[in-house]
Chain length 341, copies 3
C-alpha cells in the first residue's frame, strides 16, 4: 500500500517527498523503510527523527518538531488515523460461522443467523445467541442468558445464568460475569451466604479485559453502560451501576452498590468504596482510594482520594517536611530514617 494511498484513506496530508510502499506498522525503533510508524508525544521526537520508518503519522504540531526531510502524513488525530489504516494493512481473520460439532447446546437454546460456536463451548438451556455472535472455544454461557448480535467472546469466558450481554461487545479470555457477589450475614458468629438472585446487564459496544470479574446483583442487576471499556483483572462488585462510555483501567476494584457516572475514567489499581457515587466525567488517578462521593467532572487522587490539586498541595507540603523539622530542631540530625518499613 502506497503511503499516498494511506494518506488518502485517513484524509491526511503527505509531506517530505517520498512515497514508499508500506507493508506494516511498527514502533519507531523497530520500523523499517516499508513500515508506517507514528509520533504520539513530543518526548519521542528524537526517536522519530532517527527512525528508519518509511512514513510517520504526526499531528500538525508535532510535524513542526521534525526535520523537513522526514516523510510524514499530517493528521488531526494520530490514533484515529491508525484505527483507520490498521485493518487495511492487517486484515482481520475472516469469521468462520458454524457450530463446532463438540459444542454442547442444551434444550431451548436459540441461535441467530451466522453465529459461531467454538469447540467444547457449552450453552445452557434457554439462552439466546444473537446474529453473527462468536462464542469462543471452551466458553460457558449459563441458563437464560442473552448474547447480543456481533458479540465476540474469546476462549474460556464464563457467563453465569441470566446474564445479558449487549451487541458488539467483546469479552476477553477468562472474563467471569454474573459471579455471586460477596454477601453474607453473621449467624452464630459465622458468615452465612445470602443468595445472590440479581443478574448482570452489560450494554452494547462494551469491551472487557482478560480475567476481569463482575458480580451479579444481590437483588436487581449489576449494570455496565454502553461503550464502557474495562481492562484486565478488574473487579466490579454486586449492584454496581456504571454509566455509558466509562473507562476502567487494569486492576481497579469497585465495591458493591456504588454508582459510577458516564464518561468517568478510573486509572489503574484505583479502589472505590461501596455505596458511593462518582459523578459523570470524573477522573480518578491510579492507586487512588476513593472512600466518599466524587462530584461530576472532578479529578481525584491519593489515599484517601481528594481533589487532585489539593492532593498535590499536601504532597508538596509533605516533601518539605523533613527540611522543616530539621529547621525547627536547629539542624540536629533528627531526620535519621526510622525503620517502620
Amino acid at each position: 500500500m502506497k503511503a499516498s494511498e494511506v494518506a488518502r484513506v485517513v484524509a491526511g496530508r503527505i509531506e517530505g517527498g517520498a512515497d514508499p510502499d508500506l507493508t506494516g506498522v511498527a514502533p519507531l525503533d523497530r520500523a523499517t523503510p516499508s513500515d508506517l510508524s507514528f509520533l504520539s508525544n513530543t518526548r519521542y521526537a528524537d526517536e522519530a527523527a532517527a527512525s528508519a520508518a518509511g512514513v510517520l503519522f504526526v499531528t500538525e504540531a508535532m510535524s513542526r518538531e521534525l526535520p523537513a526531510s522526514i516523510t510524514r502524513i499530517v493528521v488531526g488525530d494520530v490514533y484515529a488515523a491508525l484505527a483507520g489504516v490498521l485493518p487495511l494493512l492487517y486484515p482481520p481473520v475472516p469469521r468462520e460461522p458454524g457450530i463446532h460439532p463438540t459444542a454442547i447446546l442444551e434444550a431451548g437454546v436459540v441461535l441467530g443467523d451466522s453465529v459461531r460456536i467454538g469447540a467444547y463451548a457449552v450453552i445452557r438451556a434457554g439462552t439466546r445467541i444473537g446474529d453473527r455472535a462468536d462464542v469462543g472455544v471452551h466458553c460457558v454461557v449459563g441458563r437464560d442468558c442473552v448474547v447480543g448480535e456481533d458479540a465476540y467472546l474469546h476462549p474460556q469466558v464464563t457467563l453465569y445464568d441470566d446474564t445479558r450481554l449487549g451487541a458488539r461487545s467483546i469479552l476477553h479470555s477468562g472474563v467471569r460475569i454474573g459471579v455471586d457477589g460477596f454477601g453474607y450475614h453473621a449467624a452464630g458468629g459465622r458468615p452465612q451466604k445470602i443468595p445472590q438472585v440479581g443478574n448482570c446487564i452489560i450494554g452494547n459496544d462494551v469491551e472487557i479485559g482478560a480475567n476481569t470479574t463482575i458480580d451479579r446483583g444481590s437483588i436487581g442487576p449489576t449494570e455496565i453502560g454502553d461503550f464502557c471499556k474495562i481492562d484486565n483483572l478488574v473487579q466490579i462488585g454486586h449492584n454496581v451501576r456504571i454509566g455509558a462510555g466509562t473507562v476502567i483501567i487494569s486492576q481497579v476494584g469497585i465495591a458493591g452498590s456504588t454508582r459510577i457516572g458516564r464518561g468517568v475514567t478510573l486509572a489503574g489499581q484505583a479502589g472505590v468504596n461501596g455505596h458511593i457515587t462518582i459523578g459523570d466525567g470524573a477522573r480518578i488517578a491510579g492507586q487512588a482510594g476513593v472512600f466518599g462521593d466524587v462530584p461530576p467532572g472532578a479529578t481525584y487522587s491519593g489515599y484517601p482520594a481528594r481533589p487532585h490539586r489539593e492532593a498535590l498541595r499536601v504532597q508538596a507540603a509533605i516533601n518539605r517536611l523533613p527540611a522543616l523539622l530539621r529547621q525547627l530542631r536547629g539542624g540536629s540530625g533528627a531526620d535519621t530514617p526510622s525503620s517502620e518499613t
Copy 2:
C-alpha cells in the same frame, strides 16, 4: 407469596396495613408493588419512603424513620431475613446428579453418591469426590485430590494435584488452587525454581471468588480454615495459614508464610507482607500495606499500616500541613503545588 407469610417465615412483625402478594425482591428504586425490598442503612430512608415496593424489611430502629403508611416487616437482622426468604421466592435450580458422558475420569477416581460431573470436566487419577459434590463444566481436578461432600465447583476451576477441599465449599469460576508458589533461589545470577512440594488444604464451608489464586505450600500445606469467605481476584501465597471465619475482600494479596487468625477481616486491595502474623479478630482497612505483625482485635489502616486511630491522627495532621507551612512562612505562597505526579 403473601407478605404476611414472608413475615411468618422470618419471624418478623408486619406493620402498615397492607398484605401484598410478593413475586420477587428488588432494590428500593426498582421495586414494584409486587416486590419485597429492604432498608439496610438510614442513609437510604428517603429512597425507602419513595419506593413503590409492596413491603420492606426493616429493623426496629429503621422502622421509626419511615412514614407510618409504608408496609414493612420489622426484623432483627435485615440480611438474615433476606437469606431466609430468598430461596422461597427464587428457588435454586435443582441439582442434576450424573456424570456427563464427555467428562474424563482417570484411573482410580472414587465418586460418592449423587455427584454431578459437568461436561468436559477432567478428574485425574486417585482423586475422591464426596457425596453430592458438583464439579462444573471444564473443571480440572488434579491427581490425588479430595473434594468434600456437597462441594460446588463452578465452571473452569483448576485444582492442582493433592488439593483437599472441604465439605460444602463453593469455588467460583476461574479459581486456581494449589498453584506453585513463588519460590526461587539465585544461582549464577538467575532465579532458579525451587520445587513446590506442599499442597493446599481448604476447610469446610469456604467460599472462594472468581479468578482467585491460592498457592500450594512450598513444603507442608497452605491452609484456609473453615467458614472463610474469600472474594474475587485475591492472591494467597505459599504456606499461608488462615484461621476459621476470616473474610477477605477482593484483590487482597497475602505474601508467603504469613499466619492470619480467626475471624479476621481484610478489606479490598490490602496487601500483607510475608512471614508475619495477624491476630484473631483483627481488621485491616482497604488498600492498607501491612508490613509487620498485627495484634488480635486491632484495626489497622494506611501505608505502612498502623493502628487506625493513629493513622487518622497522622492523616489529620497531614491535612493541616499546607496551612501550617503557609503560616510558618508568613503566607508567602510557598505552597504552590509541585509536579511530582
Copy 3:
C-alpha cells in the same frame, strides 16, 4: 534417604551425631523425626530448636544459633540445597507424551517429538509446538504461535494468535497471553477500539503465575526476557519490554509501553505508569506507585515512588507530625482525629 546421603548430594557438612532416615521435607512446626526441615531466618531459631525434625539445613551463621545437640546439615545456601534435594524426595510425576484423542489440532499444526497435548486442548492453524512441550488440559493455543521445547502449560492457559513462547517456560493455569491491549481513541465522545496488531514474545525459562494477563503489542511486540519470573494475577500492558531475569511479584500492574531493565524486582501490588523506564537491577517496593523513570540499581518505594531512603525520611517526618502540631499549638488538643475515612 539417609541424612548423610542428603548432605553428600548438597555438598553440605552434617553435624550433631545422628543420621536419620528421611522420607520428606516439612516446616519446622510440622516436621517429624523422619523429615528434613530448614532454618532460613534467625527469627525462627527458637522454633528450630524446638522442632522434631530429623535434620535441618542451616547456614554456617545460623548453625551457631542452634544447640549443639540438633542434627544439622550446614550448607552455603539453604534454598539451593532444598532445590537440590527436593526432586529426590519428591520425584516429579513422570511425563506422559502423547496427543489426547479429544485434543483438536487444526490444519498446519507442527508437533515436535515427545510432545504431550492434554484432553480438550485446542491448537489452532499454523502453530508449532516444540519437542517435549506439554500443553495442558483445556489449553487454547491460537493461530501461528510458537511454543518452545520443554515448555509446560498448565490447564486452561490461553495464548492468543501469534504468541511466541520460549523454551522451558512454565505457564500456570489461567494465564492469558497476547490479549488485546487497552487502546482506544475518542470519536464522537466515545472510545473507539484501535486494532491491536502486535504480538507477545516470551523468552526462555520464564515462569508466569496463575491468572496473569499479558497484552499483545499494539504494533510491534510486548517482550518478556529470558529467566523472568512473574507471579499470579499480574497485569502487563501492551508494548511493555522487560529485560532478562526480572522478578515480578503478585498483583503488580505495568502500564503500556514501559521499559523495565534486567534483574529488576517489582514487589507485590506495585503499580508502574506507562511510557517510563525502570533501570537494570532496580527494586520497587510493595504497593509503590511509580510515575517516573527509576535509575538502574535504585530502590524506590511509596506513593508517589521515590528513593527508599528519602521515602523513609519523609515517613519518619510524617510520624512526628502530630506531636509537632501539638507542640506548635501548645498542646491544645488540636490533634483530634478528623473523619476523612
